[in-house]
């Protein structure tokens, strides 16, 4: 198996534009929070950072920086009712099938099969583009997101970065 060296590739890409080396966040620990019930009883939410929005709302700014916008996505949204605007990755396949990056159809199937308990009342799209002001994520938009997940009694969040 050949691994794709994302960090190396991004360092090279942005360095070639004359940008200073990016100060990547390095998390020394990743606390494990065990479930208190089986997955088949859990409420599951999804988050994509791929510039995905419903067609009925304004598109994301594809060239955004420090965009903390976070859209609520109703879980029954048809999977062909999305648009993708993000100039930092190739979303050709996602424009054909949003499940490539935001697998809400697959999540529905797991709910029907009883492999998860329920789909959360709100799914999420946001934090797209390059966010350099990390303290705002840590101190403001991140905690606000956690509050929303807790309000929805979410047990598991599948975060799918792009």
């Amino acid at each position: 198996m050949i691994s794709i060296r994302y960090v190396d590739a991004l360092n090279k890409y942005y360095g070639a534009m004359g940008n200073p080396p990016y100060r990547w966040s390095i998390n020394e620990t990743a606390p494990l929070h065990r479930l208190t019930k089986p997955l088949r009883e859990c409420a599951v939410a999804l988050l994509t950072s791929g510039g995905v929005s419903q067609t009925v709302v304004p598109a994301f700014n594809p060239d955004a920086r420090n965009d903390h916008r976070l859209d609520e996505i109703p879980p029954d949204t048809p999977s062909n009712d999305f648009q993708v605007h993000d100039s930092y990755y190739d979303h050709t396949d996602a424009e054909t099938d949003i499940n490539c990056i935001f697998p809400l159809d697959r999540l529905r199937e797991l709910a029907i099969l009883g492999e998860i308990g329920t789909i959360a009342p709100r799914l999420w799209s946001g934090f797209m583009g390059r966010i350099y002001n990390r303290s705002k994520i840590r101190d403001e938009s991140g905690p606000a997101f956690v509050d929303a997940l807790e309000a929805d009694n979410v047990d598991v969040l599948v975060a799918a970065p792009t």
Binding site: I4, A30, L35, Y89, R106, L107, L110, T162
Partner: protein, 56 residues
């Protein structure tokens, strides 16, 4: 990036990746656990930051 859950309309692989991710919440022994999927990408694949039309 752009294919976190596989290729367009490849329901089997999309479901497999989502299942694997979800199963980790029950099976992971420690935070930060990484799992390599056994699935191989069927075509040549080269990651290009910014997409295929960028300067790469």
């Amino acid at each position: 990036m752009g294919n976190n859950f596989g290729q367009a309309n490849d329901k089997a692989v999309q479901l497999s990746i989502l299942r694997t991710a979800l199963s980790l919440v029950e099976t992971a022994e420690e935070g930060g656990t990484l799992v390599d999927m056994p699935t191989s990408w069927p075509d040549f694949f080269e990651f290009t930051p910014g997409g295929k039309n960028s300067m790469g």
